[in-house]
């Protein structure tokens, strides 16, 4: 790791910590008056939604495959983690440790489901994944509706409330960071190559199926983590929560934010999970609002609001400070080549 990269990680961490400090302070000192608890809930929802949307973006944006059943993996994570935490409750684990173990178990279960779904669907070229994932989500919903341990079609309630705002926020930060590193790694570059030209990737000696299945498993793993956090925030859930509408909602958030941009997923998920809450009286029109936004985005920004662009605090600061220094003398070498040079790292 070069010094510059270390520095930029540190800087981003400081930025994230600052956001967290401001929000926590607002919640602690009743910054939103009567609705403080409510706003805190909305922010928590936004955080776990970000994990789900960003993980779906790994498949849709970075791998260029379509998944219509992301909610299926979310539900695997949600149920497995809920079962894990109730099994381990009272065994002397702290709340935080219990949450982490449960969420991790949910993620791993969802990741395994991802491998099982991915192997048959991704070996073939074409839009098989969309169909297979949709079928998987339906099947898993029916399974959860019929298993005793998941409530047998009724609400599974009494899940421990372990997902506070703070924990959800930091789990989200860790998940997004890992996904970001994944995308920027040699591994991520390989997946990008497969998306851009399958035949050239094959010719370069890339094991296309392996990388696709692994990416899909990583995506499913994080979907499961998101589901685990969700379960321990909601404390009650029913399999129909994770129906096709939920998958479609997550997918539209990916598309609106920008396929291939984790920044887009973060903003898209945060904004779209806050929006309907903020206009609760119109909640009936939630899906309608989604559709309108989706159509508008498709018309005016087909790549999503952020396209493939990623926000970088380092770059922003760099630009701001340089603008002051070099207000008079524009640097000719810093033409369109500069962003490309940075693209790799």
């Amino acid at each position: 790791m070069t010094k510059a990269i270390k520095w930029s990680y540190l800087l981003n961490l400081v930025g994230v910590a600052a956001v967290f400090a401001i929000l926590s302070a607002l919640f602690a000192f009743n910054g939103f008056g009567d609705s403080t608890t409510y706003v805190e809930g909305v922010c928590t929802t936004a955080c776990y939604t970000i994990i789900m949307v960003a993980s779906l973006n790994l498949v849709v944006g970075f791998m260029g495959e379509f998944s219509l059943g992301h909610a299926g993996f979310v539900s695997v994570g949600a149920y497995v983690s809920a079962i894990t935490s109730s099994a381990l409750a009272g065994k002397g684990l702290s709340d935080l440790a219990l949450l982490l173990v449960a969420v991790l178990a949910g993620g791993i279960a969802a990741g395994i489901a991802g491998v099982l779904v991915g192997i048959p669907a991704l070996r073939l070229r074409g839009d098989y994944l969309a169909i297979v994932t949709m079928a998987f989500a339906e099947i898993i919903r029916v399974v959860f509706c019929n298993l005793e341990i998941t409530g047998g079609g009724r609400t599974m309630s009494g899940i421990l409330r372990l997902s506070s705002f703070g924990r959800t926020f930091w789990i989200m930060v860790v998940c997004v960071t890992v996904m970001f590193l994944f995308v920027r790694s040699r591994f991520g570059r390989t997946v990008q190559a497969i998306r851009e030209d399958y035949i050239a990737a094959e010719a370069a000696g890339i094991n296309v199926t392996f990388y696709k299945v692994l990416t899909f498993a990583v995506s499913s793993f994080f979907a499961g983590i998101g589901g685990g956090v969700y379960a321990h925030y909601m404390t009650a859930m029913i399999p129909t929560n994770f129906d096709f509408n939920y998958s479609a909602e997550l997918l539209s958030e990916v598309i609106i934010g920008g396929t291939g941009s984790l920044t887009g997923s973060i903003i898209g998920a945060a904004f779209l999970s806050a929006l309907p809450e903020l206009m609760r009286q119109f909640s009936k029109y939630r899906m309608l609002a989604y559709s309108v936004v989706l159509v508008l985005v498709m018309l005016f920004r087909p790549g999503g609001i952020f396209g493939r662009w990623e926000f970088s605090l380092t770059r922003l600061l760099h630009k701001l400070t340089r603008r002051k220094e070099n207000a008079a003398t524009a640097d000719p070498t810093d033409g369109p080549a500069a962003p490309l040079a940075q693209k790799g790292e």
Partner: protein, 232 residues
């Protein structure tokens, strides 16, 4: 170096290759010519494991390629420049070349420097997105990327496709130069005239069968080849 024997490939009911045999010796340029749909691309794709053969054998450098995983074949130092201009459009020229060294990234920088020497045009454009290169430049990039794996042998599928006569000449010059530096080449071409004039030996493929084979210079004078492939 490469020995293909009685190779059969079928796509469902379509018999694309019906028992072809060919050999390429160390240091040679061998071309494979034939009409559209004769099975040239299929031959190359089967050699590098991207299509499955139903019968026959493929031995490269003592390795049985039919039992080698496709992604391991590059490690045996056999590279493939696929038909059509397959580059990574949203990566820069340099990143494309880096992907070429995917199988063996040791000494990427050194190999890249050599390739830039051979293709100064790629060096000038190294930060440009590959999708914005001209067709000829993309083809050079595809060849450059294959060279990044430091191969002993390259399979090239119609490198001159869709290029202007001047660029065709340039590509063929590059092929000869690459060959002079010790890389064996199996070349698939529609441009039979050019291909035969730079090759040592050649095979003519017709609907899944090898019908003519021999010294490339002799084939240039062969009446059947002249009539069918040289338009004379």
């Amino acid at each position: 170096m490469l020995e293909v024997k009685d190779l059969k490939v079928n796509y469902g009911a379509v018999q694309a290759l019906d028992g072809i045999s060919l050999t390429v010796k160390d240091g040679e340029i061998v071309s494979l010519i034939g009409a559209n749909g004769a099975g040239k691309t299929t031959t190359l794709r089967t050699i590098t494991g991207l299509e499955k053969a139903s019968a026959g054998s493929i031995i490269f450098d003592g390795h049985d390629l039919r039992t080698t995983e496709p992604c391991k074949i590059v490690n045996l130092k056999l590279a493939h420049v696929p038909e059509g201009r397959h580059i990574f459009p949203e990566m820069t020229v340099e990143e494309n070349l880096e992907m070429g060294a995917y199988a063996d990234p040791s000494d990427t920088a050194g190999t890249m420097a050599k390739i830039y020497e051979r293709f100064p045009r790629l060096r000038e454009r190294r930060r440009q997105l590959a999708g914005t290169l001209s067709g000829g430049e993309q083809q050079m990039l595809a060849v450059g990327r294959a060279l990044m794996s430091r191969p002993k042998m390259i399979l090239m599928d119609e490198p001159s496709m869709g290029l202007s006569p001047l660029l065709v000449q340039e590509i063929f010059d590059i092929i000869q130069e690459v060959n002079r530096q010790g890389i064996t080449i199996l070349l698939v071409e529609q441009n039979a005239q050019m291909a035969l004039s730079i090759s040592h030996r050649a095979y003519v493929l017709e609907t899944g069968h090898i019908t003519i084979e021999g010294d490339a210079k002799a084939l240039l004078k062969d009446e059947r080849v002249k009539k069918a492939y040289l338009g004379q």
